[in-house]
Symmetry: C2
Subunit: 503 residues, 2 copies
Amino acid sequence: MAQSNGNKESAEDDNLCQMLADLKVRTSALEVQGAERDSMTKTTAELLKAYDDNLLKLTCGPVMRTDRESSEVMDEISENPVDFDLVVKDFKDRLVSAGVNNGHPTFFGFINAGGGTYPASLGAFVPAALATYSGAHLGNAEAVQMENRLIKWVADLFGYPAGHAGNISSGGSLATLTTLAVARDSRELKAADFHRCVVYCSEFTHYAVQKGLRAVGMREAILRNTPVDKALKMTAAALERQINEDKEAGLLPFLVVATVGTTLTGSVDPVNDIADVCDRHQLWLHVDAAYGGFFALCDEMKQLFSGVERSDSIVVNPHKGLFTSGGVGVLVVKEGEKLQQCCSLEQTFNFFKGHSIFSAENVSPSELSFELTRPFRGAQMWLPLKVFGVGVFRTALEEKLLLARYFHRKLKETGEFELPLEPELSVVVFRATVPPGVDINNFNQQLLDDLISDGKIFITPAVFSDQYYLRVCVLCFKTHIEHIDMCFSLIVEKRGHLWKSSR
Amino acid sequence: MAQSNGNKESAEDDNLCQMLADLKVRTSALEVQGAERDSMTKTTAELLKAYDDNLLKLTCGPVMRTDRESSEVMDEISENPVDFDLVVKDFKDRLVSAGVNNGHPTFFGFINAGGGTYPASLGAFVPAALATYSGAHLGNAEAVQMENRLIKWVADLFGYPAGHAGNISSGGSLATLTTLAVARDSRELKAADFHRCVVYCSEFTHYAVQKGLRAVGMREAILRNTPVDKALKMTAAALERQINEDKEAGLLPFLVVATVGTTLTGSVDPVNDIADVCDRHQLWLHVDAAYGGFFALCDEMKQLFSGVERSDSIVVNPHKGLFTSGGVGVLVVKEGEKLQQCCSLEQTFNFFKGHSIFSAENVSPSELSFELTRPFRGAQMWLPLKVFGVGVFRTALEEKLLLARYFHRKLKETGEFELPLEPELSVVVFRATVPPGVDINNFNQQLLDDLISDGKIFITPAVFSDQYYLRVCVLCFKTHIEHIDMCFSLIVEKRGHLWKSSR
């Protein structure tokens, strides 16, 4: 019987080996190598190059194509393979024709960094191909060190001392969510008190704060819109008044968000004055520098960043002012252990703790963030910073600042536009004056429609104080003086047409 | 005077134009084009190819190199540029030699998908280079549609009906965080009650749940470890007992997490039985299928997924069972409006609402997630699914299942190993038997050290019930029968040596 069982097992083993040999052959398609790999690389590189070479011929505004032919093979996810060249070409064609063109130098909407320099795009590619895991020291100590060096570089830029800690997230929203959680936990707030907690913003603070509060369980918390001055900056005196009132009412003020470069107008809150208030009342000061942060590289901007070094946390987005591809945000918390206390469960690979392969003196990134696995995002900062050097980023940001001022001056010189704010960073807000009897909001709304209708430029509205303004944000690394000139001419021209037809 | 001012302004304008022309020249380095671009592409592709071609010569375990020479130029972020070829080569050399080699076919640690097929890596590269923004329909309607199609494909795989909604996050942790927030909000829990809320897991549930609870403000909530049976599966009867007791004690049970493929042992909780309990008590049922989810593609696995269609939410990680590069997780919520209610502030580009370029009937991804900007992660799923077709993924996953069984059988046939569990998915847990009088835990801990010391294979411990086991997780798409044979031989050999020296 034993013998017979042995034979049976042996036959089963043989059968299993045969099946596995067969399966290996059938799955070999997944292991792209040799000529096939070369061909894929070539096709991809050529398509990307063609996109880049033809960029100026493309529209930059949102295009809602309805004429694209649908094909079952391409639309449905199906059992069988489709030719690589066809897939990548279709993929590129769809993406390029389907919306806003973030990479375009006359895309002045939102906050547009140009879609990433080529080395930044390679920084998304290389770690993906190398399978780099940067969530733990055990995973890749060098990748973790590179990220820590990048975080330190950002911390140094804002004058944070040693002892800070941070993480590289997918962007400002997650970074904000995380810092809200850290601020919440560092104050040892009990959930039962969340409804009494007060967060202070201005109406120009990014709504990532409100969204983040929901995420971290503080939907019931009170979000105050602190009054702003004429330059749309949060006023420290009004802030302090609110805090005092809230304290008297038995509420729990705990967090102030100051913005260095609001999304809508680029206004910079007076961080130093706000820091004084936070000091007096022992509130967590968070600085949202998602948009404006890297302008700190420019010497003449230093005074705008005065007081940022006094904050408890900063968010700055490399996919904005550092021209990385989308999806790279940096959070730095001054007292690093607070970030760790909030995020760490000390369970990351803890079965290896004490083992020689585990470097116990280092905190792993996954203990400083709510993410465990994530792409090695630092690569998208590291490669361009090394390849280009910091200097050219500084110069490019100086150029953007100057372009905004140049654009502002040109509009002003025409005498045909209202310019409610001097640009502090690279956002210019304006609206056309109107013929007597014409509604200024309607006129400018129509002007916006006319301006973006053919996709030559893309700009957005900026509505505040019930007034409709237009907004140009200059941040794309490809934007130069000729693009501003083109934008200016188009605005003057369309405004002229509209003026005539409105009289 | 007016004339003189005009002259002065004109002179200033000229000066500004000259400065801007100069700045354009100085920042042109950022716009990589033509031959320089070709050269960067070539260098990068060659390095990645060299890595892939030499993969089998590399170690797969964690290497803590201390001998690497530091260089100021490469380590510090400096003002000046460094040659591209040098930067990329250094970058690759550091990353490849610095930790675990996730792409290696004999890396059996953690849950290793092989680091991404080549088209998946290109899927990280292409949208970065095309500057695709997939957070809003306005940004790129086609990218958003592709992601929705992918989410629907996942939803279909698990039998979810229409009405679902989801998002593609950076991985399981963020997806879990999000579903915890949705479950919390859908129950309209007040923060004051968070300390009475109860979440039910087993001790084998991933700690992303505990970490996520902290993130969403529910640090005070009660996390129950529901007892498991001999196969380490959560037991529905014990779960119901706990729920009843908690209800009687005035607590608020609200969420059960069932795992389809635990990280440690690959055990699958009895989802159908658990769903019965959740139905009776009106609890949110979340299924963590981060590891095991895509095994649902295999016909013979269908019964393991029975009941998953009854859950309220599912997380599954394409960077595991779908062999994408790291950083791609899918969350699907059955009642999609609950996800939207939790995440949406309806402020995404709301200044364009009602405008013809805004497609109002579509919900934007940024209203279904806590992220606003993020990379177009869907590309890493889309390209490989199209290029390879679904069929070969199915086959590859069948191969992994069979490899695990093959490995299990081989260990069993030696008579030298204890195998406490039949592998349900692709994790095999085992330990060596020991000579009389030798501590079995110590022996196996030593065996692990011996096994991973030279980096030929990488496996992890699996400690449960105070017993030290070894664990092999088969999931890398490059792993075939010869790699399992190699692993098996090494284990038998090292175990033999250790046995001799222990007697």
